[in-house]
Symmetry: D2
Subunit: 458 residues, 4 copies
Amino acid sequence: MNDSFKDECAVVGVYNCKKAAFLAYYSLFSMQHRGQEASGISSSENQKIITIKNRGLVTDVFNQDNLMQLKGSMAIGHNRYSTAGEDSIFDAQPIFARYGLGEISVVHNGNLINAQALRDMLIARGSIFQGFMDTEIFIHLIAQSNKAILQDRILDALQQVKGAYSLVFLSRSKMFAIRDPYGLRPLCLGKIYNDDGSCGYVVASESCAFDLINAVYIRDVLPGEMLIFKEGNPPESLMISERKIPHPCIFEYVYFARPDSKVFGRMVYSVRKEMGMQLTKEKPVEADMVIPVPDSGVAAALGYSQASQIPFELGIIRNHYVGRTFIEPTQSVREIKVKLKLNPIAEIIRDKRLIVIDDSIVRGTTSRQIVRLLRDAGAKEIHMRISSPPTISPCFYGVDTPNKDELISARMDLEQICTYIEADSLAYLSLEGLRNSLKCHPDELFCQACFDGNYIIS
Amino acid sequence: MNDSFKDECAVVGVYNCKKAAFLAYYSLFSMQHRGQEASGISSSENQKIITIKNRGLVTDVFNQDNLMQLKGSMAIGHNRYSTAGEDSIFDAQPIFARYGLGEISVVHNGNLINAQALRDMLIARGSIFQGFMDTEIFIHLIAQSNKAILQDRILDALQQVKGAYSLVFLSRSKMFAIRDPYGLRPLCLGKIYNDDGSCGYVVASESCAFDLINAVYIRDVLPGEMLIFKEGNPPESLMISERKIPHPCIFEYVYFARPDSKVFGRMVYSVRKEMGMQLTKEKPVEADMVIPVPDSGVAAALGYSQASQIPFELGIIRNHYVGRTFIEPTQSVREIKVKLKLNPIAEIIRDKRLIVIDDSIVRGTTSRQIVRLLRDAGAKEIHMRISSPPTISPCFYGVDTPNKDELISARMDLEQICTYIEADSLAYLSLEGLRNSLKCHPDELFCQACFDGNYIIS
Amino acid sequence: MNDSFKDECAVVGVYNCKKAAFLAYYSLFSMQHRGQEASGISSSENQKIITIKNRGLVTDVFNQDNLMQLKGSMAIGHNRYSTAGEDSIFDAQPIFARYGLGEISVVHNGNLINAQALRDMLIARGSIFQGFMDTEIFIHLIAQSNKAILQDRILDALQQVKGAYSLVFLSRSKMFAIRDPYGLRPLCLGKIYNDDGSCGYVVASESCAFDLINAVYIRDVLPGEMLIFKEGNPPESLMISERKIPHPCIFEYVYFARPDSKVFGRMVYSVRKEMGMQLTKEKPVEADMVIPVPDSGVAAALGYSQASQIPFELGIIRNHYVGRTFIEPTQSVREIKVKLKLNPIAEIIRDKRLIVIDDSIVRGTTSRQIVRLLRDAGAKEIHMRISSPPTISPCFYGVDTPNKDELISARMDLEQICTYIEADSLAYLSLEGLRNSLKCHPDELFCQACFDGNYIIS
Amino acid sequence: MNDSFKDECAVVGVYNCKKAAFLAYYSLFSMQHRGQEASGISSSENQKIITIKNRGLVTDVFNQDNLMQLKGSMAIGHNRYSTAGEDSIFDAQPIFARYGLGEISVVHNGNLINAQALRDMLIARGSIFQGFMDTEIFIHLIAQSNKAILQDRILDALQQVKGAYSLVFLSRSKMFAIRDPYGLRPLCLGKIYNDDGSCGYVVASESCAFDLINAVYIRDVLPGEMLIFKEGNPPESLMISERKIPHPCIFEYVYFARPDSKVFGRMVYSVRKEMGMQLTKEKPVEADMVIPVPDSGVAAALGYSQASQIPFELGIIRNHYVGRTFIEPTQSVREIKVKLKLNPIAEIIRDKRLIVIDDSIVRGTTSRQIVRLLRDAGAKEIHMRISSPPTISPCFYGVDTPNKDELISARMDLEQICTYIEADSLAYLSLEGLRNSLKCHPDELFCQACFDGNYIIS
């Protein structure tokens, strides 16, 4: 249960489908786990783009009435994660603007490394920024490009940005989907067979979006690729820059993505199970049962159990009704927050030696609370096994992580952390083990900066 | 995923605890799965009972402000399930009334067999009914009793009712918790150690409520027992009638209760796992993996897997963000309703022989939809295994079931159902196997009318 | 501006009209001034009564969707005023019940003198009361009557109650409208010409309701009369008791009713103007202008001005956007409450001698605040003239008045009040003058207990 | 009742006052009549500007909680009117931006004549527009100015714009209030004496805002004047351009402003009464009574009555509870819209010859409906008298008027209009009469383009 790494974002684009906004809505619904703070959709019809966005879950923001206003066969959408300080409606996406070539709307998952420099440059030129999102930067760069057509302007803009981005642009007649040259954030392409025999296309952060709307997964948008959707045709592909060595975010496998999604060509569920198996090999421990911290630790725990032959048990039950309002507790806030979600089954774990599988430890406070809950429920031994390496560095590529000095692994060694979280033993999957779980070619690279501090872009 | 048997209700009573209403609130929150239609709490202070109730989830109905209005050290609460026709605020509980001895409020889980006769009798005597709930009947009977004290009046009333009831009454100075003589519906007793050294008490439908508020499970309220909470003392126990042979509802184990609850003295999770193991023994089948229909089939699937040594996989992922508003689908309503919740992982199940574990089949439409989803995802064989016997009769004891002619098992034989749901094979746990899972003494009886049509009260 | 006498209630009944609930809705909207706390409508169709009610203004409670659920050609409705302590949804009306003869719903404007005795009697017999309104008493009495038909039961019930009531009962096939024998509260009858040539009927507290729905005012329901609407016919009339001398509430003319309503056979606007004229005769004073406290003093001020030939000016402007939420003021609460509503026009009143007309003084605090506002705005002299006699006694017949010891006229003499409110002079219309304004026959009587302390029923 | 000319906007700025946002809130509340569509406030503290804005009334948008977030001693606020097509939250004000010199927020009442040209120019330079309001233009011009300090950049920007504007800018340490050189839209200056002996300042569209917050009216901001609030000092004054002949909007007197406001140095109430008196002189008619169309015609009707000695009567009563939701009517939409607001008192006007005073006629449909209501109520003669000249031209300076071809006076002559609205006679105040009502010096000019089609800026 990774409470400290907040989720990131979800993007979707729908092209050449009847009621495109409804498909965008369902897609966003299926990717709700990537962002619960705000949601929005733009659709384009009759040379006019309409945008509806607001704070709240997808089902809070949209209803039959306002979805009906989003007419047309092209739509883009976005779910935003909750940022710490500035939870304002102004930063909800899509971001829409009128500019030199007409109208444009854009959704963005990622983060720019040179955002401040670009903002400074743009502001020095007289641009104004109405929100805090990097996304505004793209529109300014496009607006200030001197190229004649939008496609060239987007390319122009992308030459100037450094960082992670999966983008979908909507103009009044076209749609563009782009992944940054390192392919840091996911974006995949699906196809829809329309009733009239024509084909529609969908791009989405995760393939689980396709399943709900009966789209067929085709492939990932490639790192550095721009897909151009126009004139009802299948997308044209264009490489936006000289080829770079892709470094997709390895943490998508660890935590972000839904287990039923295919990300960077692999099913997340299978990868997570494999991580659990690797963890068994690397960090075995004698115990009576393997229990996951639900829901994020479930697949890895299954793998650990299968590899170790130690029985898998759902020793902690998760209450999924947790909402966002929080009534004054009768106990400490930190304690109740975890207890509202998680309840150990005392009779299962009493006097048992437990292997507890979680995906990661960020600040350590949640893990300590879980260990205490299990201890109170009578666990004899608690062996915490983490299905990823220690998180030692913040992410600068689109994930809302705490500062480095809040990361427990950046401040303490393994033994200290184990003491802090009050476990009997603690072990992490090695970075090599994580890579093994992916069964990747030795040359295949990932961004693993959160684990090793090596930032591919800086 | 049992969509047709609606959940029933949850009741809670808190006695001699500071901020009793907050404890009732947290208890109701942890029992939200038993009823999502309406929620309410009454508290008693200074010879005055205050009640707040409304439609919606616990977290919708209550907030810091209105909980603060519910002062005092005694409180009762209720979650109500959604009934088909009459979803009105008038039927939310607690039901409060002023009567001959002052003020009373009551919460009720269950259903009376002789409700209509009692209503007719009461109406003939001049009583009026403002809602549709049986709960009003109890208050009328109490109000019309000629006994001098409330306790005797409650006993009087209980002599007249026939059926299932777990009740908590709140007067201005006392609290009464009662289970019907057959003990059809659950109710358990917990204890809270107050900061000042005194003890408080909690009664709740399920023990998971105790865990969240740091109460200790003591025991079940006994069938036919009345617990009297007064003067700050531990509860006095009184049997309300000559002893009957208890027949607690066996379906609580199959579906209703949270797996981390202790119900009728057994941990639900363990019972469900055992049901899966029994099912393996009774209805084995060669296959590549065991997958549950989440969340209700998970524990039984684990048991089936452990007993059969066929690997357990989470082959279907559940989206927990499903809300109550429902946007016009682009496909048939029935289909989208299931797809919004459940998504199979194609890469796991493709070309595989699946054992799919669900807790029950009611109308058959949901099961058919699940089989189709799995088939579309590439499953080679689908062997549906149900961890309870065929549901052939409706419940008259507090569960909102369809009419008999809507129950697929009442209309079709096994083979026909298998054909209808389009599975390769279908098998149910036998009633004997279900009883075996409970590891009960041969003399221990349960209400299993939904499976065998034998109604203990009529 | 009478802030201390709260408004009372509005009732409406619609019979034999298509979409009766919509007509009830519009009627309630036009009588919103009589109660802003809660609103509700019951309609009857196919032997079934449906009720929707909630806290809030008419336009808050109802929308297209829920009005559509209130089917049928008969409907009754109610607006409730805000009572001090118990603002709960449970006391919203209509009050619905199932009883010996089927279903009934009722709305009530008024108050019973023997409510406590009846409650005690009913409770002693075993009745329960779920709310605080007298209205429940009527239903209990009807339910306990041994008469065979509803009409007789209502008559039975009415024999037992003492007090003020304008009632509308809705059964599954009939509607009954009744005024108490003294006719204390208003109720008038109107007719609607349906598109199909048939006639519908409406009863409402004020005739302004008729104007909005194109109903024609026919006459008042008579004191002691019951109108029976059945079988689509024009109403039958029945006297419910031996004839009493009517005593309708004189304060309806002073404050409650809308000026465009006909109440007890007289247009309210005309009566109020006449009150102003009488006031001129009785309590003339030399001044530069007459200004009303808006809106309640406007008509009387016009009369005062016309009779005195002193110019009428709207020297105080009222802000009608005042809502119910109240943001922490930067000044004292009492002061801002008046200022949010009323703003004097300094340039009009500066250095002027003002005659300020208000309808009544209850506690005196509001009047003092108004005098201060005018003084701050530069008024040279402020002569307060009240278009009714001093309010010395509380109302027990359906109006929410403060206790006697809070009524400034019950505690102070004229001079003391004048000093307290800081006016230069103060004068009230005499009771005789008030009667003269009504141009009534010497034998015509009114309930004027609030002015003379003579209670016709006790 | 002018339903077709929508209201315009309200702006407010508060400087050097404790809890400035609360004062802005109260000011906006008192100017709610100038815009009901959206409301917003920015406040500045600690070098940071925070903005909260949303759709809805002032009391809908703000509550204790969010006002508390708007800290600091400087705040600006805005009420927006409802525009036809694009009612989006994106166009709510204040508009905030980060730009070359830091942060800025702005509120604007008015309209630019060269908006499209400026947009085109800015877009050609690469600017992007996220909303539809002219207000964004100001920020772009400021951002692109090469001046070193904000004050000079504002001056720079103002050189480029042509049109009507009353503006308040908020930076992180200063506030600027500006009226365009022609002074088309109002803006006045008030002073607040703080508890600590210091002085605060307020600028607002109307002086009624000052009354509620105990500010003292000082003077109008002059046409072409910029007031600079900084370092806690009284405002510095600077003329933004060579002196022009002021042309303030004469329609503020006719309709927009609250009668208790001082606008352009005159009390609106007095001016309107004078307009009624002029109208008597110009367009006398024999009749039994003068009645206003409430509320906008009241003051003029009083004047007409006083000058003509024909009695003033409130023959039409207005229901102030009219909300924004609109339930399916049982009659035509147009008819019910007027009836929901206005109800004639039949007994007053029956068989009477009426002079009906309204402030203006725009499309004529509302007037026709009013005439019909009065005719149905029995009026013998209806003489419509309009307290302004025929509205023949749309406004381009900040008022949302229909197109010219929707203005009845642009399409029909007097007689035709009279026939259309079904009155017995119709007469308008002459432009000269309107000017006379203002008692202005012959050289004093006003923008009266809506009456004479002469646009001072084009």
